[in-house]
């Protein structure tokens, strides 16, 4: 399985402060390694401020990387000029979080969806292609004559998907696309994305903070905390057996329909530190219930503790027989979730 996208030690830092104030560096993305195979979905989850949105934009070179490499299909695009990058933009597109902001309010839907065709001089009848795209995402071809404000949030997100699809990309970054949609609309958009993935052989980088959505759509999940990936694993492995304490807390905070009575998800103390003041050692140690002396001093590297399951934690241990069955005398971390709810197998939440 060759990688469509490979991200190596990617860093995106912002300089803060002008010539009068003290210069500081905001480490939005701070040494991320990722691999995404063609036709696969990799979810990146994390709290707000974890750098996941910046990561997506840096991969598309909408934000300039400070260091590291972005390899798209064998070609390092992290140093290409914007002009050299332009032809490669056909292969990677993005759908944004806010369907109200991502469509130009002064342009008709037809113009918006045709824009990528026009910019890249795609041959053929653009009007007809736009009509087909709109129909493919579940709108009617006549939608092209209307303005974005005439549509609902879900319909606008479909328009944005049609625009991203217009150039037949290999990779689409989906940046929190479901967070503004209500549940039924969300499920239908996700179903559409799944169909499109099969039909157009798409790879998705699915950025989200919503673990329940992530569980249903992704093949692999990377958990991001303060600009770094702390755990990466196949989706089922990550949800069945999270190895990083942060992931365990995240997982336990998903409301489970089966749990009755008092549901007391474990709560992390404090907020995530600012990416301006990254704590030394393990980034998670100030909030980690298990932190040891070593965590305060040495930054943990990602270690592969199970097949394709990598964790950046000093204390995490490989599960004895990989995932299938627990009874384990000393689990590496006591399960943080007090609820005894059984996970539903095929996750459909609510």
């Amino acid at each position: 399985m060759t990688a469509l996208l490979e991200v190596q030690n990617l860093k995106t830092h912002y300089r803060l402060g002008g010539w009068l104030s003290r210069r500081r560096v905001l480490r939005a993305v701070d040494g991320v390694n990722l691999t995404l195979a063609a036709r696969q979905t990799l979810a990146v989850v994390g709290e707000s401020g974890s750098g996941k949105t910046t990561l997506g934009r840096t991969i598309l070179r909408l934000v300039e990387p400070t260091d590291g490499r972005i390899i798209l299909d064998g070609q390092d695009i992290s140093r290409l000029s914007q002009a050299r990058l332009r032809p490669l933009r056909r292969r990677m597109q993005i759908v944004f979080q806010h369907p109200y902001a991502s469509l130009n309010p002064r342009k008709r839907v037809g113009q918006i969806v045709a824009q990528p065709l026009r910019v890249h001089r795609v041959p053929g009848n653009h009007r007809r292609q736009v009509g087909e795209l709109l129909e493919r995402v579940g709108l009617s071809a006549s939608a092209a004559k209307h303005y974005p404000h005439e549509f609902s949030g879900g319909q606008r997100q479909r328009i944005a998907i049609a625009r991203a699809l217009a150039l037949r990309p290999d990779l689409i970054v989906l940046d929190e696309i479901t967070s503004g949609l209500d549940v039924t609309v969300k499920l239908r958009v996700l179903a559409l994305l799944r169909e499109l993935q099969a039909e157009f052989h798409l790879a998705y980088l699915f950025i989200s903070h919503d673990l329940s959505v992530v569980r249903t759509v992704s093949d692999r999940v990377a958990v991001m905390y303060l600009g770094r990936i702390v755990e990466e694993a196949p989706t089922e492995a990550l949800f069945e057996r999270p190895l990083h304490p942060y992931t365990q807390v995240l997982k336990a905070s998903i409301p489970e329909p089966a749990a009755r009575g008092n549901w007391n998800p474990p709560v992390l103390v404090g907020e995530a530190p600012s990416p301006v003041n990254v704590p030394p050692g393990c980034r998670f140690h100030p909030r980690c219930p298990l932190a040891q002396a070593v965590c305060r001093e040495v930054e943990p590297e990602l270690r592969e503790l199970a097949p394709a399951h990598r964790v950046a934690c000093h204390l995490a241990e490989a599960p004895p027989h990989f995932y299938p069955h627990p009874p384990h005398p000393h689990p590496p971390h006591p399960p943080l979730s007090p609820s005894g709810g059984e996970d539903k197998g095929e996750g459909e939440d609510r």
Partner: protein, 310 residues
Amino acid sequence: MNTSEGGSAPLPTPPPEGCAGKASARTDASLLKRRNAKLVGGVVIGLVLCLAAVLAPWLTPHDPNRQDLSAIRQPPVWMGGAWDHPLGTDSLGRDLLSRLLWSSRVAVMVAVGATLCAAVIGTPVGLVSGYFRGRVDTVLMRVVDVWMSIPAVLLAIALMAVLGVGLLKVILAIVLVDWTRFARVIRGEVLALREREFVEASRAIGLGPFRIMAEELLPNLVPLLIVLASLEMAIAVGVEALLSFVGLGVEAAVPSWGSMIAEGRGYLLVGWWGMTLPMLALVVTVVGFNLLGEGLRERLDPRLRTEAAR
């Protein structure tokens, strides 16, 4: 249409697109009701002025420059004057109505010409400054700051003194003084617009910075530009009158409200109409353009619009 996952019943097809359009129409109507007065007043005054300017040769009973020393300082008809000169004559016996109408041509040409040129210069500066930010922005905005720190009227008078009189030179002077206004306001708006995701979306498609400015940002600046332009017209008319008043405006042979006020000033006690009527025309015009700008601003200002009406 997709179905929801997990094999549940197919969801009904979504309502046809375009059903949200009615809400915006209703909002527009109620807005129109509230903003009526200013906007309508401004539009009426603007239309009357334009008609007067275009039709001046056919509306005027006399050549505006024909002197008739046998009929100087004739009063308007309501003060016992003759219908031959409905608004009376000035101290050289020239027909005031004809001169007022011909002057409106200067006013309209200056208003439109100066505003267009100022917008054409100021808007790209604002776009470039706001879009690129950083050093480009710093340099351009310091130039604008220095420019704006010179008193506008003083600069205009100094320019005219150097350039000499004439309609085109008046327009040039006003443009040189006022392009900064456009640059400033457009820059501010672009700073806000460039953060919207649709700009990032077009970068992801591969549009270059100048195409983004022209195709994505400019259409969103149109309402603001319209408002700025109508307010700028009021300023341009005022500055032209001022320059003509001090004798640094259009050529002496071309009637202009400013020069008419200057000429009538000496005879205020014996023929008040000679000064007062052009002043009235000037004030009504300036107020009209201001009403137009204010009315449009209230109509088009995003803060007064709902999301649906955008």
